[in-house]
């Protein structure tokens, strides 16, 4: 197990370096000179050259990349072309909203997905199973930005139960809960559907396993068979799906933040792409990709810990 973790950590380091390289190169390939964007239309040739020098753009590309890596290690992601503020600082102030949204959505997804999948498996081929599987497919197919708009229309505009948008307070407070409920449902629906599908198929596999038959033959009560023998084993692969979905949810926050006007990293990135604020895009992409790979690594390790049959060669 320790060897596996060390191996994965070494792989992670290479992966993180690879991500920084891709993001760095991507912004270098992008058309348009950053110095011209910063200098504006009135900048003279000497102004542009001065900006080039200040940003280190006159150095060889490999040196620029090493400077960039060095900056990342010191928490320096550069400065925004638009606001001239530190990218790391801008992202840092918005990150809590994005993380809150991803966590709240995951909670919604688990609350809906796991019971739906399990009930569906226990009542296989019933109308309940059919409805659950059909709804799961619909959940995967529904555009979340559309679902968000509909939820706003019904619950915020017509019924006026919940606010239209924004997220100013932590979600564990009552006000924060009301603010995050609609965005979390919007973002969590797709993951709930995936978790439901996984829980159902995993549960169906376990129900037919030999050890479950043995438990029944020994006269163990049905609810004990389901809760103790089946559920614990069936949920192992579900944990992986939940973990992997968390990474996906981070990507999904980009759209949901836009729909509900939440000041998160995703919204910042969309605005930055529109204004061609490359350092901001670079910082946002880097951060989300970093969190994504680290979450995936943690999921892999947790999976190996809870299921001793898993061994990574």
């Amino acid at each position: 197990m320790v060897t596996m973790i060390i191996k994965r950590l070494i792989q992670l380091i290479f992966l993180l370096i690879g991500i920084t390289f891709i993001v760095f190169m991507a912004m270098h390939i992008a058309p348009g000179d950053p110095a011209s964007i910063i200098g504006g239309p009135t900048a003279t040739q000497s102004d542009i050259l001065a900006i080039h020098h200040r940003l280190g753009l006159d150095k060889p590309i490999i040196i620029q990349y090493l400077d960039y890596l060095n900056g990342i290690l010191h928490g320096d992601l550069g400065f925004s072309f638009q606001t001239n503020r530190s990218v790391a600082q801008e992202i840092w102030t918005r990150l809590p909203n994005t993380i809150d949204l991803a966590i709240a959505s995951m909670i919604v997804a688990i609350i809906i997905g796991v019971p739906a999948g399990i009930i569906s498996a226990l009542k296989q081929n019933s109308w309940l199973d059919f409805s659950s599987t059909t709804l799961s497919l619909a959940g995967i197919s529904i555009p979340n930005f559309w679902l968000g708009a509909l939820l706003i229309l019904v619950f915020a505009v017509n019924l006026q139960w919940l606010p239209v948008g924004g997220l100013d307070t932590p979600f564990w407070t009552f006000k924060g809960f009301k603010e995050i409920l609609l965005p979390a449902i919007t973002l969590g629906t797709g993951s709930a559907a995936m978790i439901a599908r996984m829980s159902r198929s995993s549960m169906l596999e376990i129900i037919r396993a030999d050890f479950v038959r043995t438990a029944r033959a020994k006269g163990v009560k049905e609810h004990m068979v389901i809760w103790v023998h089946c559920l614990r084993n069936a949920l192992i692969p579900v944990v992986t799906v939940i973990g992997l979905n968390f990474g996906g949810l981070l990507g999904g926050t980009i759209i949901t933040e836009q729909v509900f006007a939440i000041n998160g990293v995703g919204r910042l990135m969309v605005e930055s792409i529109a204004s061609r604020d490359f350092p901001m895009v670079q910082g946002g992409v880097l951060l989300i990709a970093f969190i994504f790979v680290i979450v995936n690594l943690v999921v892999d390790i947790v999976y190996a810990l809870i299921d001793p049959r898993i061994s990574y060669q």
Partner: protein
């Protein structure tokens, strides 16, 4: 000798037809997938005959008839905030979403398949291709697409490129998996012993026998491509707001949602129906073609 060959080819043809009929019969057992197939066929029909089934141009404005509700005379799905006919925009949107979906799936699947074949067949290429795909997997799909659009600029064509690139590693991985198991088969060993070239083994023997997972991937990915295109257009990173693209229509309609909810509801239902259709058909194909993946 001649009659025997003809006999053999006839029997092969008959057995191929039988297999196709059997597959079709099998497919028709999946009721939801049949409904999905009908939805896809209707969309294809509308996309092809868009000019014949609509009476108005999807882009021509009529400011005397703005935000008409569905069921209005002359505009059975109503009009938008510029007085453009919603039915026309929906139908031309179907054409656009199919075009974007098909092109990105074809580009992604072709390149992904080629890379997967190479990675599975040649060990030295395997490490390189798979490490690059690992790196691409480090970015959530939509993020990777946004990064590509940030480089290339916002347009529908760039969305196609972005979604194609995003789908390459998944496809390559699936194909590589099939190649790894297929190349151990006895008939491949026999082909090698007979001195067949690598090109012939890969494209005439491995590829035709490994098409099932590619078909399933492409079908399932159509839904993802359509959904992602509309999401990117919604964010303002894809189609221009005036373009009859479903995501852009929702984005534009959001401002008028309180007075004219149909501007948001109608294109949303269209996206959901089409993506749902591709997903159920993909699910059924997976169950049929890949028994190991069968969702119980």
């Amino acid at each position: 000798m001649q009659p025997q060959t003809t006999e053999t080819s006839v029997s092969v043809k008959v057995s191929k037809n039988e297999a196709l009929t059997r597959r079709l019969k099998q497919f028709f057992k999946y009721k939801l997938a049949v409904i999905g197939l009908i939805v896809i066929l209707v969309q294809i029909f509308l996309a092809i005959f868009a000019n014949s089934v609509t009476s108005y141009s999807p882009t021509v404005q009529d400011l005397t008839h703005v935000n008409l509700k569905p069921g209005s005379p002359g505009h059975w799905l109503g009009t938008d905030n510029y007085g453009r006919d919603m039915w026309s925009r929906l139908v031309f949107g179907a054409r656009l979403s199919l075009m974007v979906g098909f092109s990105s799936v074809i580009i992604g699947t072709v390149i992904g398949t080629l890379l997967g074949l190479l990675a599975g067949f040649y060990k030295f290429l395997d490490t390189i291709i798979m490490r690059i795909s690992d790196l691409m997997f480090a970015f959530p799909g939509i993020l990777l697409a946004m990064l590509i659009i940030a480089i290339l600029g916002t347009s529908l064509l760039n969305v196609v490129i972005a979604i194609s690139i995003w789908s390459i590693p998944s496809c390559a991985r699936i194909v590589r998996g099939s190649v790894l198991s297929l190349k151990k088969q006895e008939y491949i060993t026999a082909m090698r012993a007979l001195g067949a070239s690598h090109f012939r083994i890969i494209f005439q023997h491995i590829l035709p026998n490994g098409t099932a997972p590619i078909i399933v991937f492409a079908t399932m990915h159509m839904g993802t491509a359509i959904l992602s295109t509309s999401a990117l257009s919604f964010l303002g990173l894809g189609a221009e707001p005036s373009t009859p693209e479903w995501g852009a229509m929702i984005s534009a309609g959001q401002q008028y949602m309180w007075q004219a909810p149909h501007l948001v509801i109608i294109p949303g239902i269209a996206i959901m129906l089409v993506v749902f259709a591709f997903n159920v058909v993909g699910d059924a194909l997976r169950d049929m073609l890949d028994p190991n993946m069968k969702s119980r």
